[in-house]
């Protein structure tokens, strides 16, 4: 029963999307299956996480081909945590999209593709084989292409062309990197690579390969200077789609960076410096980009970029405290970013516009809702004791110890600028008087929706806000998880042993 536990999240998402295809035109049934399936997937992921927490890293060898020859699936604490967060975001988005995405879009296979996307994400987190990681990346991007173009409006198609080109380019670079790495070592299994790359004498070649990986994953993660596809495309699809993209797609890039640079290319001062510089510039450029935008969803898009900087910063510092901060930030960011884009979708339903200038008066019309959206907004800023505050302590502490003053400055600057932007948004959409605007006649405003639809839109925001509050107030638990992951990542011998020698790391 528990022997194949690593595969259960994958099998569940796969069977869900196949099942959904049988109900192609019956949207109401699809909604029920999708939400119910997502609830089951949260339960399975909690089970997986609890099992990994108890029994240490688990592996499944596909077709019983002994590692390093076959494809292997590995669930360590980091993978299990991310699978759990994927399930949580997936549940929220499944519920939110059944109310906020219009039926015309849902009819063209929205839900099956959504679950394919979640399948790809789970696969990328769980695989232990670098080429298999490439395949999962392709599953993720092809699903995201369909989701981003569904509806085919002008802005959407234009955004999709940019999104498509840069993601394909990144994938090709990833493939090139795999080819070079295979030529160097003759291995694809990540644990095997870890051993073999460490033994290579020609470090120059290794550094070049690592740079190729950095460019490929940096593009996926939207790090400076490779982020330009993100603000060009993330605000074009329906907000439910943006929510899942914002929460998880860039984070897959961050996950891949963490995995590759803690397992395969370790302890190279040159690479660590490059990553640190990238982090500093990402923090600056994302923050300054967000400052000048007026479209609510573009502001949030730039904030995604800005906050990717925090995660890369921890990776660049490469100490246990810093990695723990990175992981904590990752956990916090997935929940909050998903939530923020759902908030932006809700605001769009309420006011019929994305422009911050044209919004306002939310506190007057919906006081309770204003209180609700305060939680994700201020969690993002990291006002203690909300969730964004704790990882920054670890990052700053690690920065001080490493004496990386530019990085410390950038982290403080980005926090300040985030605070300023969120205060501006708060004043603009909640406190300011509602500007006089004509009601659009063919637009379904929030006030005219049925109670069921209102609940389907509000419930996921409440759910994710509660998760955010838990991350903030239960920071001790999350810190425990992050520290354990950081220990596992810094001592990659554990991972290698679990994969190659099938040793269970009992805690």
């Amino acid at each position: 029963m528990t022997q194949q536990i690593v595969l259960y999240p994958l099998l569940l998402q796969l069977s869900l999307s196949i099942l959904l295809m049988f109900f192609w035109n019956k949207i109401e049934i699809q909604k029920i299956i999708s939400i119910a399936g997502s609830v089951i997937s949260v339960a399975v992921s909690v089970w997986l996480f609890a099992y990994i927490w108890e029994h240490g890293t688990q592996t499944v060898q596909a077709g019983n081909w002994k590692a390093p020859f076959g494809i292997i699936f590995v669930a360590d604490t980091l993978s299990a945590t991310l699978v759990l967060l994927t399930a949580i975001s997936g549940l929220a988005v499944a519920s939110f999209s059944s109310a906020s995405v219009v039926a015309a879009r849902l009819r063209f296979g929205y839900f099956p593709i959504l679950h394919f996307l979640l399948l790809g994400l789970n696969g990328a987190f769980l695989t232990g084989d670098i080429f298999n990681l490439y395949v999962w990346f392709e599953i993720i991007i092809i699903s995201s292409f369909v989701l981003i173009t569904l509806g085919g409006e002008k802005a959407q198609v234009e955004g999709a062309v940019k999104y498509f080109t840069l993601n394909i380019l990144a994938s090709t670079i990833f493939l090139t990197a795999i080819a070079v790495l295979y030529g160097l070592t003759g291995a694809l299994n990540m644990a095997d690579l870890s051993v073999k790359v460490a033994a290579i004498e020609n470090r120059g070649l290794v550094e070049i390969t690592a740079m190729l990986f950095l460019i490929a994953f940096g593009t996926k993660a939207a790090a400076f200077p490779l982020y330009f596809w993100l603000p060009a495309s993330y605000h074009t699809p329906p907000s439910a789609v943006s929510a899942i993209f914002a929460g998880l797609l860039t984070k897959v890039g961050v996950y891949a960076l963490i995995r590759v640079f803690t397992l395969i290319f370790v302890g190279d001062a040159f690479l660590d410096n490059i990553i640190t510089v990238m982090a500093i510039l990402t923090l600056f450029s994302g923050g300054l980009g967000a400052l000048v935008q007026n479209n609510l969803r573009k502001v949030f898009s730039y904030l995604i970029i800005c906050h990717i900087g925090y995660m890369i910063a921890g990776l660049g510092l490469f100490t246990e405290v810093a990695i723990a901060g990175t992981i904590f930030y990752l956990i916090h960011d997935i929940v909050v970013k998903t939530n923020l884009f759902m908030v932006s979708g809700l605001m769009y339903r309420i006011r019929g516009t994305n422009s911050v200038q044209a919004m306002g008066g939310l506190y007057h019309d919906y006081p309770k809702l204003s209180l609700l959206i305060a939680i994700p907004l201020f969690s993002l800023v990291g006002i203690p004791p909300l969730s964004g505050f704790w990882p920054k302590i670890s990052l700053l502490k690690a920065g001080f110890v490493a004496e990386q003053w530019w990085l410390v400055g950038a982290i403080i600057f980005a926090s300040l600028i985030t605070l300023f932007i969120i205060a501006k948004i708060w004043a603009g959409i909640v406190w300011k008087d509602k500007p006089v605007a004509e009601m659009k006649s063919n637009f379904r405003y929030y006030a005219n929706l049925s109670n069921l639809k209102k609940t389907q839109m509000i419930a996921p925001i409440v759910f994710l806000s509660l998760v955010s509050l838990y991350i903030g107030f239960g920071a001790e638990h999350i810190q425990q998880i992050s520290s354990r992951i950081a220990t596992e990542l810094m001592d990659n011998q554990q991972y290698v042993n679990a994969v190659l020698h099938n040793v269970q790391n009992m805690k």
Binding site: I141, F145, K154, V161, T165, I168, T176, A179
Partner: protein
């Protein structure tokens, strides 16, 4: 053989990137296709080219006695070709759609998303 392949891969990468940098949508797709082919050939080359030694263990032996052609790169290329085939067909439909909606082939004129809304 290796040298010719290496030069060819270089040319394919260069041509692919040059085409991606052009302003026309069709050339963009052609660039992506050429770049993908370059990457596939690169895997093939870096898997080491061995002539006339199929990876089959003779009945009389337990393990490989001789030099043999590595079958893994071919499996990788096959997978990569299938994936890029799917993506390219999607891309072609996408640019057709983009051309219909935006009514231009010029990437520089695709700037509706930069306007504030």
């Amino acid at each position: 053989m290796e040298v010719i392949l290496a030069i060819m891969i270089g040319v394919l990468y260069a041509a692919g990137i040059y085409m991606i940098l052009r302003r026309s949508l069709v050339k963009l797709i052609l660039g992506i296709i050429i770049l993908g082919n370059g990457a596939n050939l690169l895997i093939f080359l870096l898997g080491r080219i061995v002539k006339g030694h199929p990876p089959i263990i003779p009945g009389s032996a337990e393990v490989f006695q001789d030099l043999y052609a590595d079958p893994v790169p071919q499996a990788l290329i096959l997978t990569a070709i299938v994936i890029s085939f799917g993506l390219q067909s999607f891309a072609i439909i996408l640019i057709k759609r983009a051309y219909k909606v935006v009514k231009t082939d010029d990437l520089d004129e695709m700037n509706a998303i930069d306007q504030d809304s």
